[in-house]
């Protein structure tokens, strides 16, 4: 053990500098070590890291180079070292765009996806969907449906997000997974329901009536996740925009209610939606005062969000923004240049003589 540890230390000490001048051909030659049995997880992990680093630096791999590396990497499925396996998935995802015959790993990944090790399953699903083309989806459909409703949130999220990516190439097939996604929507885990809502909305893009039903139901339930709420506010705002009838009043009330949420992200999302709705005859004051508060925040991101949204509002409702003139004037000398520029342009647009004098 001790000698092994020393080896590793030596390798890592050189690590920082060896990354600086990595040579593609040398790294690709090193991938020959992948054929050794038993697999040395640390050495192989380090070689995989180098390959990923080169790809990330924008180094170009020819189809042949990528394919050779890809096939060498498939040998590493023999090892059960967790970190090595996860790096293998990462490499599969990166190389799947460049190499040929990548479907060779389908069975290995399907095995990991349905296996016992939770740490493999979520990542294996995502890698599998990156090598699967539209003709192959049917073969994994059953597993995907199971994974979507899995109790492990990481597995469920991985399956939902992968389905979303797949729906750009095979929309009809992914549509068949609607009932599973519906079930995932009720998950206690906030990100699972966020991902489920995202895919349901995508499936029902063209079906306005069912989107309305979905949004109406959700606005009445108590959603805690800020991400899901942000998405829901966007959907509700879109429905208000498309619909002139009385029913949209409920959506407006829902968005208004979100102004009192405890998360700044949600408050801002609601305020932004309210001031950007095309047909507002109602009271803008609560939303504007939220944005006004943001302008005085110590966080630059909040100041920018506030100033930018107010800037947009000037063209539509200059009167509503004029209440914030003083706050915007304070931002003219803001250390963040984006914020300062926005404040100046907004003040010029509102064009109050008094403020120009000052």
């Amino acid at each position: 053990m001790s000698s092994f540890k020393r080896d590793k230390k030596e390798e890592e000490e050189g690590g920082c500098f060896s990354f600086q001048n990595l040579d593609k051909t040398i790294v690709l030659q090193e991938s020959r070590y992948f054929n050794e049995t038993p697999v040395n997880p640390r050495k192989c992990t380090q070689i995989l890291t180098k390959i990923l680093f080169l790809l990330n630096q924008g180094e170009t791999f020819s189809t042949q180079e990528a394919t050779e590396a890809f096939f060498a990497i498939t040998k590493l499925f023999q090892s059960n070292d967790v970190i090595l396996r996860r790096m293998v998935y990462l490499c599969i995802k990166e190389l799947s765009k460049l190499a040929q015959d990548v479907i060779i790993v389908t069975s290995s990944l399907t095995k990991d996806m349905t296996g016992k090790e939770d740490l493999y399953r979520a990542a294996a699903i995502r890698a599998l969907c990156s090598v699967t083309d539209s003709t192959m989806i049917q073969a994994i459909e059953r597993y995907m449906k199971q994974a979507i409703v899995d109790r492990n949130p990481a597995v469920s999220s991985a399956a939902l997000v992968s389905s979303l990516h797949l729906s750009s190439t095979s929309p009809d097939l992914v549509k068949r997974w609607t009932s599973e996604a519906q079930e995932a929507l009720n998950s206690e885990k906030s990100l699972v329901s966020y991902h489920a809502l995202g895919i349901l909305v995508n499936i029902r893009r063209t079906d306005k009536l069912s989107t309305m039903k979905l949004v109406t139901r959700l606005t009445k339930s108590s959603i805690k996740s800020p991400y899901t709420l942000c998405l829901l506010i966007r959907l509700a705002a879109q429905l208000v925009e498309d619909d002139a009838s009385e029913t949209s009043q409920a959506y407006i009330e829902f968005i208004d209610g979100c102004l009192r949420h405890k998360s700044e992200m949600v408050i801002y999302e609601a305020a932004h939606a309210i001031v950007n709705l095309r047909k507002t005859t109602r009271d803008l004051a609560p939303a504007v005062s939220v944005l006004q508060l943001f302008c005085g925040s110590s966080k630059a991101t909040l100041r920018l969000a506030g100033a930018r949204t107010l800037a947009k509002l000037t063209t539509k409702h200059p009167a509503a923004v004029s209440a914030c003139t003083i706050d915007l004037e304070n931002l003219i000398s803001d250390p963040n240049r984006s914020v300062a520029t926005l404040a100046v342009t907004t003040l010029l647009a509102t064009g109050a003589e008094s403020s120009i004098d000052r």
Binding site: F19, L231, E269, N276, L277, A300, A311
Partner: protein
Amino acid sequence: MVHTNLEGSLFEPTLYIVKGMCILDNEGNRILAKYYDKDILPTPKEQKAFEKNLFNKTHRANAEIIMLDGLTCVYKSNVDLFFYVMGSSHENELLLQSVLNSLYESVSILLRRNVEKRVLMDNLDSVMLAFDEICDGGVILDSDPGSIVGRAALRGEDVPLGEQTVVQVLQSAREQLKWSLLK
């Protein structure tokens, strides 16, 4: 260049929120970068030019956020590392900020609070895994640093003994035994 498009518009209801994430060193060189939208900065050359520009505009002013080339970029730096998260200019800035916070906090835990280039390069594999756990093709996959790190750092024996849980100690003991048998 600040985009002063004064026309109001609603945010788009989509899960594709993140346009890119990157970590640069104190000379503006890329350590890790991912771009998730094929239409934005499609080639490495354009990406690196953008990163240089971004770095030049941000490395001295610690101002958290900048509008650059039609992208909203939130950022944070420490010692010799710069972390950036990019989104469309029609995006909720605070959502992007929350992704940046997850990225920074996860990396910080992985590097045991030594957020500097040398330590990061020694743990590049874990940081790559964390990148992958935070964002999948532009979709926020996880935002909880605890669970992100839980899935990115799995080498029990790298953690000082005092900080290990019973499970980790057992796991590393098992691994050490395995290694001694293999020799």
